[in-house]
Amino acid sequence: MSPTSRRTILKTLAGAGAATAVSGFPFVNRLALGQQAVKVGVVVPQTGPMALEAQEMLAATQIAVEDINAAGGVMGRKVETVIRDSEFKPEVAKRKATELIEVEKAAFLVGAIVGFEGIAMAEVGCKNDVIVCFFGQNFLTVKGKMCKYQFGNNLTPYQTAAAAANFVNEQKMGKKWHMLANNYSWPQMFERAYTLVAKQVGADWTGVTWAPLGTRDFLPFLPKVAAAKADVVFITTWAADQVACAKQVQEFGLARQARVIHSITELTFAEAAGPGVYENFYSGMPWYWHLKDKFPAAKRYYDRHVALRKRAPGGYTASTYSTVRLLLETANDVKSLETDKVARALEGRKFQHLKGPEQIRACDHVNIQDVYLCRGKAASAMKDAWDFFDIVQAVGGEGTAESCEGEGFDPKKPLSQQI
């Protein structure tokens, strides 16, 4: 064995040092390069009446984060979710959102199923310069109610209503329209949209029959609806109200007199109503699971959701998946978690996840996307436990969204330059 020279020892040590610097101990390397996980703060009502919808959305969030991590994370950093329960209370949603930003240092805030949660989260995100994106409908798209860090990937009430109205118009279902709705601010946004579209297409708007929120018996309201002698009746109700309304509208036989269109529905409502209750009713949805037969990405998502939750994903669930992916992919593309940079990159961003092409409109942060108008199936035509509808038509494009001018924004400038 030849004696080791001083030069050889130095070379070996230098080589070992370089190798350690490149590969290193994972622990040392992660800390040294600032490789903490990117945190996404999620606020959903894990307890209360929307608890199961929240579980579905958390499953969608999990799948989206797994997809992002499998593709290398954000700038090579792993993504983690930090989940908080809003308890279906605005003040709790606000407190938890604040905690996610101040204590957990979340890079993004997502969540909120209903309006009051969204308002609370938007307030916190805007105040703390953190991007906030809703899982539920994007209903704050009016100048004076938005900040530049606020995004909504789901449909706006206007889009939802305009899609249903355009569908009715294209399908030549008749020009005399009426709405049956619960009496609170969300359906009132639909009333405004239907009225405007009716004017545009020359339809006769016969008004609204308002039922209180939480109505158990819709029968007393139906004679007024029938008396309007409308060709089309739009129904804007949600959750338990929609289930009761659908059952009683079917019992009343309104579909024999007019086309019945639920402005928007969720798979869980059709399940709660039971097979056949939505038969011959049309319903708008941001996504429906039959899209798995059209888009391979939707099929992959569907399979994973069914494996995880043992049930088909609903429209809001798919929208949740897309929301989380949209934020993280954008941050990865701009190689930054800086709020202003990501927000600017989101403005005008085009993407396609589980359905047709989508784009975040720069001037108001509304997602220009398709709405799927579906027809309810008879119980005997259902092929499995979730097969309540068939997609009839995708209605979308900028034509279904309210104009930026109509919302008080300058259509030529991105929102970040207007607020």
Binding site: E53, P223, K224, A244, K247, A272, R311
Partner: protein
Amino acid sequence: MNGCILILVALGLSIVFGLMGIINFAHGIFYMLGAYAGWLTVQVTGSFWLALLTAPAAVGLLGILVERGVLQRIYGTKNATFAGVLVTYGLAIMIPDLVRMTFGRPGKPFAVPAALTGSLFRLGEIDVHAYRVFILGVTAVLLPLLWLLLNRTNLGLVIRAGTSDNLMVQLLGINVAQTWTITYALGAALAAFAGVITAPLVAVAPEMGGLVLIECFIVTVVGGMGTFLGVVAGGLLIGEALALTGMLYDVLADVVIYLAMALVLLVRPRGLFGQEGMSEE
């Protein structure tokens, strides 16, 4: 339909308050549990008619457990009324979440029984369906039976006497504890029965009890706490007010029951059939 449901649910609420002095915030959950128990029975046996028996029986038994296991611990304690509110309110929060955890997704499909589907006759613009006539009929049969129970039986005598002057009934050596348990179970069973018969027309969901409870409190206040006739009159008044407003001036439907309550209380502060001294300890 609304009036019938309100009467059946509010009766238990009113009698429990009249006899036991408990403002029972848990009463709505018995209505909800009745719908779930009915759904479960239909799933297992396929029989809606059996559900009309099993659901009230099962929920009545649960009522016994709640009364014996929870409420009996607060009788006679300092601030028993306030404690009763807290305990029953706690149950009203806890049990719907337990139902969500047990039964999964938010709603359960519950169809109208095949024998009662379809329209019987037409009334103006409205097809009157067999199932709605059934709800009317079954309420019309139940109410006289309940009246007989309260007015022509020893149990009813004790309940009525206890509602008027509970302390005196106890001084007479009557086993009031047992009467309270039976009354509480009866109220729970009635609410459950209302839950089963409503289920085919609404969403069977954990939160359904909370919504009906508010209306039932208004019914009992309007009718007069602790009175049978008061509940019937209050239920019909509130049910009709809701229905007529829906037909004639729907934008007022949100507030009409509160207006009706305010109006009745201005004219008769004890409610339509409330009597001096009754339930005023």
